[in-house]
């Protein structure tokens, strides 16, 4: 979108309106959603590798409506012992996900409805969500609310599952979530946001394959209430063309897991069409109240235990992730015949190193993407 608008400077006022809308999370008028994005992500840790290609197509429709369709494939080359399974499963696990989002952008804000379907060989999920957003205070603030639900089912390949309801062959899980956010523009270089979210999960929340020695497949509580608060701030220094973002997230649930996450980002424009983003994310959580380190103390779960888990992410977890990302608008290729329409798009590439204190081990994360407005 930005490239199209650069080529039409007489539309500058319209550009500013559109981009200001994006800055306040209010998508702007016609043309904003017309895009094709192709992305790929590669995640690698000691015994798990994931390749995730994604395609997204967005299209503006008359009267302020728009549609966005997404297709995503997760190709997992191995489920891992590190994840708590009893043995590395040398298979290719595929997860297909399709999503469709419809939006309407009237003068006062925006409404969206979204549906998502995810399926793999032993798991499916239907998700629906709706959101509304209002512009306030002379278009210097927005208030948004969102709500949704997800309906999942899991069935194991090799065993009869321990579903919460006896005789069920498909273990079901329902989750509901809601959230609200407030975004305020304080000046032309300073913006803040406060977001809160709450979720409730009811049903089968364990892994189908993780097991605790002498006790069998893990059993975790069937309900979970969770909530989080996230303040964010962004500041831009025009003189050096440097932007800063800082966000903090506090999370709590009724499994006694409390978590803090803080992430800082620095954006530096290097040239008119080239930007570098350096970021650092730190996360720490307390363990679930029913977690015990059965690998270090094999008898820590007594024989009468009815809730037990081998899930590494329910212990004390701390992770940190430095990341470097470059974004390049391919405007310099304009006029070069062999590149043609490719020069109208934006390329991005990022590399991150994820350090984890759990048995998953450290990981590499590489992402590549290209977005073409049309």
């Amino acid at each position: 979108m930005r490239l199209q608008l650069r080529r039409a400077p007489r539309r500058r006022d319209l550009v500013l309106v559109l981009l200001a809308g994006a800055a306040t999370a209010v998508p702007a008028r016609a043309g904003e959603h017309d895009h094709v994005t192709v992305r790929g992500a590669y995640y690698r840790e000691a015994s798990t590798r994931v390749v995730q290609p994604v395609v997204e197509v967005g299209k503006d429709l008359p009267y302020g409506f728009d549609l966005t369709a997404t297709y995503l494939l997760d190709a997992i080359t191995s489920a891992s012992v590190a994840a708590g399974t009893t043995a590395d499963s040398i298979f290719t696990e595929l997860r297909n996900e399709v999503g469709l989002r419809a939006g309407w952008t009237p003068r006062w804000g925006r409404l969206t409805l979204a549906y998502r379907y995810s399926a793999e060989s032993d798991y499916w999920s239907h998700g629906v969500a709706a959101s509304a957003l209002w512009r306030l205070w002379g278009d210097t603030a927005t208030v948004g609310v969102a709500a949704g639900a997800s309906f999942d089912g899991a069935w194991p390949r090799t065993r009869t599952p321990n579903c919460p309801t006896a005789m069920q062959l498909i273990c079901r899980m329902r989750s509901y979530f809601g959230g609200a956010n407030y975004t305020q523009i304080w000046s032309e270089t300073f913006i803040t946001q406060l977001a809160a979210e709450i979720g409730y999960i009811d049903g089968f929340q364990a892994s189908l394959y993780r097991a605790v020695p002498n006790l069998g497949y893990e059993v975790v509580p069937s309900t979970r209430l969770r909530g989080a608060v996230t303040p964010r701030a962004a500041y831009y220094v025009p003189r050096t063309q440097t932007g800063f973002q800082l966000q903090y997230r506090y999370y709590r649930d009724d499994w006694s897991i409390g978590a803090h996450m803080v992430e800082g980002r620095v954006y530096q424009t290097v040239a008119r069409d080239f930007e570098i983003r350096a970021s650092y994310r730190y996360y720490a959580q307390t363990p679930a109240d029913f977690w015990c380190d059965w690998m270090a103390r094999p008898d820590c779960y007594g024989p009468s235990a009815t809730v037990y888990t081998a899930d590494p992410k329910l212990q004390h977890v701390s992770t940190s992730m430095p990341e470097l990302k470059v974004t390049w608008d391919a405007v310099r290729w304009r006029g070069v015949p062999i590149f043609g329409w490719v020069a109208e798009g934006t390329f991005e590439a990022s590399y991150a190193r994820l350090f984890q204190n759990t048995s998953f081990g450290d990981a590499h994360l590489l992402q590549l993407g290209y977005t073409l407005p049309y």
């Binding site: 032993d122 002379g138 208030v143 424009t269 992410k313």
Partner: protein, 96 residues
């Protein structure tokens, strides 16, 4: 199901609230949002549409790349327990 947890050893964390008081969490979150709204309830600074060029920068947009955000939610959701209530699908492969 909850009361059966007494059969399992507890971790080092001491719960800040129990299930019976879980609605407090909703109240706390609601108060947090309302306090944020209250703090912003004054007349805001005028930032006209012609002065918003900087606000259009990626650095000033909290969701400049939704697909990247979604991938990160899914990735951290399989490695951390605080992935939130985004309705992320789980997985039978051990990702759950």
């Amino acid at each position: 199901m909850r009361e059966t947890r007494q059969n399992a050893p507890h971790g080092s964390a001491r719960p800040l609230f129990r299930l019976s008081s879980a609605p407090r969490l909703a109240v706390v979150l609601l108060l947090a949002v309302l306090s944020g709204l209250a703090g912003c309830g004054h007349a805001p600074p005028a930032v006209g549409v012609t002065r918003r060029a900087y606000l259009s920068k990626r650095a000033m947009r909290f969701d400049a790349d939704p697909l990247e955000t979604r991938f990160r939610q899914h990735m951290f959701g399989s490695r951390e327990a605080a992935d939130g209530g985004y309705g992320e699908p789980g997985g039978g492969c051990g990702c759950n």
